[in-house]
Structure formats: structure tokens, C-alpha cells
């Protein structure tokens, strides 16, 4: 299966064509640098994204705490993670990098606060 991937490492935005099947890469074409090759390969095998959203703050109706996944999570789990995060709420005071949800959806990745709230 061939897949066109636009490299987002730099503004050049090369269109890289990766050929392979579930986890196996047979050929990569169209990249211009080593980082592009690595990006396209990883993007083909297991695309990941940093997930950012907000969680409610207990006792504060109109205030939200911005959060992120500490590291990128698999792209196909983004919406599943959102369902879990929507049900969560944080207690204040909270500091940046405080864990709000540990090991979200068994990804091994924590969802942490990105802002201090007193």
C-alpha cells in the first residue's frame, strides 16, 4: 500500500511516498533529508500526535485548565483519549506538569497541566 505523507519537519513540506503494509516499509521516496526519511517512516508505521485540550476545574464553572499529553499519543487514540479527558476534572491549586490523568487509555502516557492555577 502506497501512502503520501507531507513532511512537517521543516517549512519545505516535501511530499514523501511510502510503500509498505502494516508496520513494514518497503520503499520511501521523495524525501530531501535524513530527518524527512525518519519522519515519513515513523508517520507510516505509527503516527503519533501531542494531544492538547482542557479539563474542568472543580468548583469553578467558567474556568478551564489547559492540559497536554506529556508525550505524543498514537493518532488513532486521540478521540478515545478525549472521551476520558471530558469526564475528568482537576482540583486546585495545580501546577504545570502535575499529572491530571495517569496512563491515559493504557498508552503509558500521562495527561499533565500546562498552566499553574491557584
Amino acid at each position: 500500500m502506497k501512502k503520501e505523507i507531507i513532511c512537517t519537519i521543516c517549512p519545505r513540506g516535501c511530499t514523501v511516498v511510502v510503500d509498505g503494509d502494516a508496520g513494514n516499509v518497503n520503499s520511501v521516496e521523495g524525501y530531501s533529508c535524513k530527518r524527512g526519511l525518519e519522519f515519513a517512516t515513523a508517520e507510516f508505521v505509527s503516527p503519533v500526535r501531542i494531544l492538547t485540550t482542557t479539563v474542568k476545574i472543580s468548583g469553578k464553572e467558567n474556568d478551564l485548565l489547559p492540559v497536554r499529553s506529556k508525550s505524543p499519543v498514537p493518532k488513532d487514540k486521540l478521540l478515545e483519549c478525549m472521551e476520558v479527558i471530558k469526564k475528568a476534572s482537576a482540583n486546585v491549586p495545580v501546577k504545570r506538569n502535575d499529572v491530571i490523568i495517569a496512563n491515559i487509555c493504557n498508552t503509558g502516557i500521562d495527561v499533565v497541566a500546562t498552566k499553574d492555577v491557584k
Binding site: 507531507i6 512537517t8 517549512p11 519545505r12 513540506g13 500526535r49 501531542i50 494531544l51 492538547t52 485540550t53 482542557t54 474542568k56 464553572e61 467558567n62 474556568d63 478551564l64 489547559p66 497536554r68 493518532k75 486521540l78 478521540l79 478525549m82 504545570r96 500546562t114 498552566k115 499553574d116
Partner: protein
């Protein structure tokens, strides 16, 4: 009126103002004040909860709150003072005074050694681009929707059409999708993307959101709430092709159609404004036509990366501090930079030559996309700086560094040259 005295007064506590204030303090200004109209520092980054900030500056991918927190932490550490919920009404460039309102002190007159303008910009609205139709609920600028969703816990709609492929529009497309809304399409008038490619991949392609290039919204329908929009392709003159118009059902329309530097204060102070950027004309010290007034960030020209804003604002803060301390470089001559082939504007607009040789970063935007080019700075007919670029795009700012020691008598021009 209540009086205060500061060496450097910064108008606006967003990323530009924070970087300028910290830098002014580090340069040696004793008392530095930020005046901010919102209830917290950080500016627009407070609602930019997504990642992508700081890749150039910190070599890591930070969210908006994480990025500005690095500067608010630093501001606190070095002792920058600030007034929140305070609206600046007037800047007196002659007496170096800033007049503002504050809930605690009432009307305040701040006497300054120098002033930094960092008011940022605001969004163009439906009214600015004149879209026909009714005026129902459900029409927002992308940034207003972003503030409601990300800071005020208010969802703005369920089925969304976004006009404009600027970064804020694409980021809101992803945000609305993650919050459970359906984004029907992103419509872009030009035949190329307005924002960064990275955002198209991660905000639209990832969620299968269609991007309609060379299309526009021709009419908005709905009585109390938006019920839908008409979308049509445009011809080469950007005129909608009526026969191909189609109805798209939705309950919300977001406009991401550009930003306007917020320069009411600047204009009222009779500071020279550039008609392309709609921001003050500045030299490489980010000094405006009023010598005690400096300006930085999106109030000068709309940036696509906050990393660039921080860098240029540090320059503004540094020289504002030097001005307040009486250590400002004496200008021998000032040269206006000309825009050559495929260059829309250059910032700084002027170069001030002193005895000291300096390396100056010239930021500029092109008029239209081009591939296989070389960026050049010419002094007269001589090329004094050159750099190859695989491609240029109006949505992505370009930068070239020039050494003032190479500047001779001729006119300075920045241009894009075709590579052979």
C-alpha cells in the same frame, strides 16, 4: 490623576510585551511596568492551548500557556511590575506619558523614560470582508470562538464551516472536532493555503476535514441561528462562479480571514504608520518615528511564529532600556529599505546607521508563492546578502541577515530572484 514613574512602560502583556519587559530589565532599566487590559498576562497565548510554540527558540514543542509561562516566570524573577485590568487611553510622545484607567487607582498617568507598544492585533471580521446574507447567531471570528471554548468553557456550535485557511482557523477546526463538533469544510479564497503546512496536516488531514481552495462563502442563511451557507468556487479574479454555488448545511460559521494590528493608540499619537503592514514604521531597534516610543510583535506586523515575536521584542526592550538610560546609539544616517521583486513588505522598514557595525535580521513576506529562488539584499546594484530558498510562500515569513558594514551609499532593496 494618580501619578507613577517608570523607566520603561510596556503597553500590552502578551508575548511581545513580556519579552520586551524582561529584556529591558536585563539591559539595566531599573523600573519596568507592563500595562495589560485583560485579567492576566500572556495575551492570546492563554487561549492557544495547542502545541507548536517554541520550536525555534527552545528547541521543544510547547503549548501556548507553557510558552508564556517561561516569560512570566522570568518577569517575576527579574522584578517586572504590572497593572492588570488596565486600559491605556492615550500616549503622549512629547512628555513621555501613558494615560490609563485602573480599578484601584482610577485614572493613572505613568511618566516614562521610554515606551514600548505591544498591543498585538485583532481579527478581521465578517464585516471587514462583507459576506452577504442574514445576521443570525452562530457567526464568530475563529479567535473569539477559541477564547470561548478554551478559556470560558462555552462550546460555540455543532456543525461548523470555517472561512479562511489561516492557522487559527485550521487549529479551531481540530479543536472543534476534538470537542465533538463536526467541521464540514474549511473554505479558502486563494488557491493556496494561508497558514502553515504543518497545521494542514495535523488539523485538517488528520481528521479528514475537506479543504476547499479557491472557494468562498457567497451567502449566510438562517433566521435566529445559522442554518447554512452557500459556497462557490472563484475564478482567476476571485469572483464567485454563481452557477457552481452549493448549499452547505451548518449551524456555525467561523471567520479566520486575517489580523489587523491594533494601532489606535499609535495613530492618535501621530506615529508614522506603514500602509502595507498597518503598523508603525520602525528601524532595527524597533524604534518608531517618535524617538522615545518603540514597538514590537503583531502590532508592528503580523507574525506566524511567536518565536520571531520574542526575538524582535527583546530587541525593542533592550533599546527602549538604553533610550531611557541615555545610552542609545547615535544615528549618522537613516535608510528606508525598498521592496523589490515579489516582496510585499520588509520589517524593520528602516536601517539606522551608527558608528558600530551591526548584523540586522530583515523579516519579510512575499506577494505570491515561488519555487527555486534566492533571497537577496542589494545596496545600489551590489548584492550585500544572499540566501537560497527552496520555496517561498506568503503564509511563511522569510528572514535574511544583513551586515551594516557592507552598506554603502546606494538604496537598499530586498528582493526575490529566480535561481537559474
Amino acid at each position: 490623576m494618580y501619578n507613577m514613574n517608570y523607566d520603561v512602560v510596556v503597553v500590552g502583556g502578551g508575548p511581545a510585551g513580556l519579552a520586551a519587559a524582561v529584556s529591558a530589565k536585563e539591559e539595566g532599566a531599573e523600573k519596568v511596568l507592563i500595562i495589560e487590559r485583560d485579567n492576566a498576562l500572556g495575551g492570546i497565548l492563554q487561549q492557544c492551548i495547542h502545541p507548536g510554540f517554541g520550536l525555534t527558540r527552545f528547541k521543544e514543542e510547547l503549548t501556548g500557556p507553557e510558552y508564556y509561562s517561561r516569560f512570566t516566570d522570568k518577569a517575576e524573577e527579574v522584578g517586572v511590575e504590572y497593572l492588570l485590568n488596565s486600559m491605556v487611553l492615550q500616549i503622549d510622545t512629547e512628555n513621555k506619558q501613558v494615560i490609563c484607567t485602573n480599578g484601584e487607582y482610577g485614572m493613572v498617568c505613568v511618566n516614562a523614560g521610554s515606551i514600548v507598544l505591544s498591543m498585538g492585533c485583532r481579527e478581521r471580521t465578517r464585516a471587514n470582508i462583507v459576506v452577504p446574507g442574514t445576521r443570525p447567531a452562530g457567526i464568530y471570528t475563529a479567535g473569539a470562538a477559541q477564547r470561548l471554548v478554551n478559556r470560558q468553557n462555552t462550546m460555540v456550535g455543532k456543525k461548523v464551516v470555517i472561512l479562511g485557511s489561516g492557522d487559527i482557523g485550521m487549529i479551531m477546526a481540530r479543536r472543534m472536532t476534538l470537542e465533538g463538533a463536526q467541521v464540514v469544510m474549511v473554505v479558502e479564497l486563494m488557491d493556496y493555503l494561508a497558514g502553515l503546512t504543518r497545521n494542514r496536516v495535523q488539523c485538517l488531514d488528520d481528521f479528514g476535514i475537506p479543504l476547499k481552495l479557491a472557494h468562498t462563502i457567497t451567502k449566510i442563511e438562517g433566521n435566529e441561528r445559522v442554518t447554512g451557507v452557500y459556497v462557490a468556487p472563484v475564478d482567476e479574479n476571485k469572483k464567485p462562479i454563481k452557477e457552481k454555488e452549493e448549499f452547505v448545511s451548518c449551524d456555525t460559521v467561523l471567520f479566520s480571514v486575517g489580523l489587523i494590528p491594533e494601532n489606535e493608540l499609535t495613530k492618535n499619537a501621530s506615529i508614522e504608520i506603514n500602509r502595507i503592514t498597518n503598523g508603525p514604521v520602525v528601524n532595527q531597534y524597533m524604534q518608531t518615528s517618535a524617538p522615545a516610543v518603540f514597538a514590537c510583535g503583531n502590532v508592528v506586523h503580523v507574525n506566524d511564529l511567536v518565536d520571531n515575536v520574542s526575538a524582535e521584542s527583546e530587541q525593542a526592550g533592550k533599546y527602549a532600556a538604553r533610550f531611557a538610560m541615555g545610552k542609545f546609539p547615535a544615528a549618522k544616517k537613516e535608510i528606508t529599505i525598498q521592496t523589490g521583486n515579489n516582496v510585499r513588505y520588509v520589517c524593520p522598514h528602516k536601517i539606522s546607521l551608527s558608528d558600530e557595525a551591526e548584523k540586522i535580521d530583515l523579516y519579510f513576506r512575499v506577494l505570491h508563492p515561488e519555487k527555486g529562488v534566492s533571497l537577496a539584499v542589494k545596496c545600489g546594484n551590489e548584492i550585500i546578502a544572499q540566501k537560497k530558498e527552496f520555496k517561498v510562500n506568503p503564509g511563511e515569513m522569510n528572514c535574511i541577515t544583513v551586515d551594516t558594514s557592507k552598506v554603502t551609499d546606494g538604496e537598499i532593496t530586498v528582493e526575490v530572484m529566480k535561481e537559474d
